[in-house]
């Protein structure tokens, strides 16, 4: 099974492609065949693009033949259905975008296209990235490759599951409150949320603009570093995108972590955390110590307010971001006699319950008379949370926490209880509020065989150090990857 082409990492595939031992068409076909075999069970993709993918692979093979290739030429990727892809329907897992085919590419898509990457298709997600389980998709939930009765996590559950189940070599997702890291953790793959502004958001359908960030899913930390290197960097179409030069992330993976100071926040080891998660994370801490890291306890005192602040800020921004889905210009339009009914019926039919809940919450938080008590207050909390982290980084180089308090839960287990669902992101949300980079690395399995994730948080633009630490941990071999039982 491990000899199958679709199990290759970017690094392995790249080597064989360049040596011409393997063609991009063969590799792409292997991924497509794999997807064809297991998609009915997994539902990781909303749209598969086999014809386009093979065409792109043929082009990639010609580029490779001419020796004109980048690190991603010929590498089959899965793309979360939140990225605008020219000519390929883009749904954001919502009925309201029914029939929408963007006439433009997201900047990251444009860059990956230029790098010669192959796009296998668009992956499933929670509608408009609102959710932690990919159950809020109008295309049905994605199932966890390790246990089909369990969720893949969310909102980028499709991308995480596709990588875990080897339907692709790597994938793109977005992370607003944990939407890359939590599904990566649930599916046992690597997921990176870069520093806010590191990667362009142009063409990424907005959920919460001040929190959304694009990042890679991969089978190894090295692959995540390679993918980040291709998508990061200044974009004249995104005014919030940083002009800071993009370092060679792969070069940062020296394997040396000696002397790195690791902070472990006491607030993150909460009651109600699954026992196996705590054990796995503590054993990872020991591993880092054995590799020469200095581990110290730190405090992030405002952590307990993060979820509340997040659900005010994110929903406030979402309430405006989602106002454009009005049935006037594209997507779903309900029949109506007047404009007001047209809006009401279109939005009533087009949006799912969680999206409606968040639009209402955000609208309320911004309403006259409530703005100061909710939105403005939440922004103040955000500042305090950011200050917590900056203070902590005086005493440590990276921060280590679990990604989520539990492993993947069962389908339907939390969907009826939004507050329980919101708590799945309790360890990831404050990283978005502070705009920091966060890496999710597999750190073991629970007694039922479900993957557990370790979160490494860096200072702003500290991708190199968290990737270096994650890579060193991965290379230590303390965690043996167990392929999903598919």
């Amino acid at each position: 099974m491990t000899s199958e082409l679709f199990t290759l990492t970017i690094t392995e595939a790249r080597e064989r492609l360049v040596k011409r031992e393997l063609s991009a068409v063969e590799l792409t076909r292997a991924c497509l065949d794999r997807a064809a075999a297991i998609e009915s069970r997994l539902n990781a993709f909303i749209t598969l693009c086999p014809r386009e993918a093979i065409e792109q692979a043929e082009v990639a093979d010609r580029l490779i033949a001419r020796g004109n290739c980048s690190s991603l030429t010929g590498i089959p990727l899965a793309i979360k259905d939140i990225f605008a892809t020219r000519g390929v329907r883009t749904t954001c897992a919502s009925k309201i975008l029914e029939g929408f085919v963007p006439p433009y590419d997201a900047t990251v898509i444009e860059r990956l296209r230029a790098a010669g990457a192959i796009f296998l298709g668009k992956t499933n997600m929670d509608e408009f990235a609102m959710g932690s389980s990919t159950e809020n998709s109008s295309f049905g939930p994605t199932r966890n490759p390790y246990d089909l009765r369990r969720v893949a996590g969310g909102s980028s559950g499709g991308s995480a599951a596709a990588v875990a189940a080897d339907e692709c070599i790597a994938a793109l997702g977005t992370d607003t409150g944990g939407s890359i890291r939590e599904p990566a953790s649930f599916c046992g793959v690597v997921g990176l949320k870069p520093t806010y502004s590191r990667v362009s958001r142009y063409g990424v359908i907005a959920y919460a603009s001040s929190l959304d960030q694009v990042g890679p899913f991969a089978k190894t930390v090295r692959d995540a570093a390679i993918l980040l290197g291709e998508i990061a960097g200044v974009d004249p179409r995104d005014a919030t995108c940083s002009a800071r030069p993009v370092p060679d992330y792969e070069a940062a993976l020296t394997g040396k972590v000696e002397g790195i100071r690791i902070g472990v926040p006491r607030e993150f080891f909460v009651e109600g955390m699954q026992e196996d998660v705590g054990l796995a994370v503590r054993s990872a801490i020991k591993q880092f110590e054995s590799q020469g890291c200095q581990v110290r306890e730190i405090s992030l005192p405002h952590t307990q307010y993060a979820v509340a602040a997040y659900y005010l800020i994110a929903t406030a921004e979402a309430s405006a971001n989602l106002a454009r889905y009005d049935g006037i210009r594209y997507g779903l339009r309900a029949e109506a006699d007047n404009t007001l009914d047209l809006y009401n019926r279109t939005r009533d039919r087009g949006f799912g319950p969680e999206v409606k809940r968040r639009i209402m919450l955000g609208t309320f938080a911004l309403s006259a008379g409530y703005y100061d008590a909710y939105y403005r207050k939440a922004q103040k909390v955000r500042t305090l949370i950011r200050q917590d982290f900056f203070r902590a980084f005086n005493d440590c180089d990276i921060i280590l926490t679990p990604v989520a308090p539990t492993t993947a839960f069962e389908l339907g287990e939390k969907i009826a209880d939004p507050l329980q669902m919101y708590l799945s992101d309790i360890f990831t949300i404050s990283v978005n509020l502070a705009g920091l980079p966060g890496l999710s690395v597999p750190c073991g399995y629970d007694r039922k065989g479900m993957p557990i994730g370790l979160q490494l948080i860096g200072p702003p633009f500290g991708e190199e150090i968290i990737l270096r630490a994650g890579d060193a941990y991965e290379r230590s071999g303390c965690v043996q990857r167990q392929p999903p039982p598919l």
Binding site: A206, A320, A323, R324, R329, T363, L366
Partner: protein, 478 residues
């Protein structure tokens, strides 16, 4: 109590397009007159995932407006989302500025009668325009060409006290906008829009009465009429023991009255919050100095100079300075010191403005270059052509684009100053009109004009009137 015991308190909110080539947040053309939805892209159509990027030239134009109105430019201002649903608003929110506008304070100086008054400004901020709905019988269409075109909103303090002052304020503001090249200020075309806040109170009172806001005002005349109407309406209401309701009212230009908007039309909670897609706008001293250095002379300075240095009156000055192009043209006529300021002023006010108004074209397209007009005026000064002939010549020059000398020659407009020829014509007239000559000599001085007319007629209107006068007077006296 009569209306004279009340005073009006008026504040104006002006929206004006900035004359940029591209829109405020995307590269689409901001020009007018294209076919529906020709100047659109994913950004100004509000497609999913797109982001705004600020047009730096729009900021520069807004800064020119700020400097011209003595407004305080904020080193840091913040864009905000103003949310409401309307089919012409593609994102469901307008990107505007709210808590932290680009500029605060400032004033515009207006002349009302002989006295000059400062109307203070509250703020100036930048925002994007919406598209346009076109309603048909049983469907509506939306044209997004205007969506995302840059606007500045200029909000005055309630310092205005009459319809006339409001008119003076708007004219002065428009002149400033045109001078600094920020806006064309065409109200009828919709690129200069004005909402009015009006209240009344007893003279001497410091308290503000309840105000109404008037919308749908698309000419200066309507603004003045609407204010006059609204002041009258409010006073009448108060005098009858009633109360003014705070509301938005629409001007109905056909019935010449204001009427309340349906409450649904303005019961908005805009839910402003800072635009997360745009970083705060930072204006550093260097940028401000660069804009300041490139500022043209402003209308108020120019008016002072025209009156003080050129000896023009207030009326002439006002007309000549309202438009920068007109004032520039007038000054260009004075170049070389050949043409006097009165002559140049009269010619500009009558002939140049007549042609501009008749053709509806911008000045530089409507009339010949000032250098050519100067040659024509020099001909009048030298007696080569009469003033009337010069006016004809000017019209032809404007239409044909030919130089003054060529037009005068082609139309045979040059005057006859040859004394012998004129004397012969005078003699013929005197001989033919012996009865009238006798009357004149008996003291009917008024008949002199008649003789001049006859001579001119005999000479086909081309005789130099000065020479005709001289010779006739001489001959009639003898």
């Amino acid at each position: 109590m009569t209306s004279s015991s009340y005073e009006a308190v008026i504040g104006l909110e002006v929206h004006t397009h900035l004359m940029t080539r591209s829109k405020l947040f995307c590269g689409c053309s901001a020009s007018f007159g294209s076919g529906p939805n020709e100047n659109v892209c994913p950004v100004c159509l509000g497609m999913p995932g797109v982001l705004p990027v600020l047009n730096q030239y729009a900021v520069e134009l807004a800064l020119r407006v700020a400097l011209a109105t003595h407004s305080e430019v904020q080193t840091r201002s913040v864009f905000a989302r103003k949310s409401y649903f309307y089919p012409d608003l593609p994102k469901g929110y307008q990107i505007s500025q709210y808590e932290l506008p680009l500029c605060k304070g400032g004033y515009i100086e207006i002349a009302n009668g002989g006295e000059s008054r400062r109307i203070r400004l509250v703020r100036i901020h930048m925002e994007e325009d919406a598209g346009k709905n076109l309603h048909e019988a049983n469907y509506s269409l939306v044209d997004f060409n205007r969506s995302g075109v840059p606007l500045v909103e200029i909000v005055s303090e309630p310092d205005i006290r009459s319809a006339a002052e409001a008119g003076a304020y708007l004219r002065e503001l428009r002149a400033i906008l045109r001078y600094v090249g920020a806006s064309e200020g065409r109200m009828e075309e919709g690129d200069f829009r004005c909402d009015v806040n009006v209240s009344v109170r007893r003279k001497g009172s410091d308290e503000l009465g309840t105000k109404t806001e008037i919308k749908n005002l698309n000419s200066f005349r309507f603004v003045e009429k609407a204010i006059t109407y609204e002041i009258g309406r409010q006073i009448e209401l108060l005098e009858a023991g009633g109360r003014v309701t705070q509301e938005t009212r629409l001007w109905d230009p056909n019935r010449e009255e204001t009427r309340p908007m349906r409450s649904k039309e303005f019961a908005h909670d805009y839910r402003y919050f800072p635009e997360p897609d745009l970083p705060p706008l930072e204006i550093d001293g260097q940028m401000l100095e660069r804009v300041r250095a490139a500022m043209p002379e402003l209308p108020a300075e120019r008016r002072r100079r025209f009156q003080r240095d050129l000896g023009l009156g207030a009326y002439e000055t006002a007309i000549l300075t309202e438009d920068r192009a007109i004032a520039d043209y007038f000054e260009a006529l004075l170049n070389g010191g050949v043409i006097g300021s009165k002559t140049a002023a009269n010619w500009t006010m009558t002939e140049v403005l007549r042609i501009v108004n008749e053709t509806g074209k911008p000045l530089e397209e409507a009339v010949p270059p000032a250098a050519e007009t100067r040659i024509l005026l020099k001909m009048v000064q030298d007696g080569v052509v009469s003033l009337n002939a010069a006016k004809n010549a000017f019209s032809v020059m404007c239409k044909s684009g030919q130089p003054a000398a060529a037009v005068v020659a082609r139309l045979g407009l040059a005057q006859v100053s040859d004394e012998a020829a004129i004397a012969a014509a005078c003699d013929e007239v005197i001989a033919a009109e012996s009865a009238k000559v006798a009357e004149y000599r008996a003291g009917r001085d008024k008949l002199f004009g008649f003789f001049v007319g006859q001579v001119m007629k005999a000479m086909g209107g081309k005789a130099n009137p000065k020479v005709v006068n001289e010779i006739l007077r001489q001959r009639l006296q003898s």
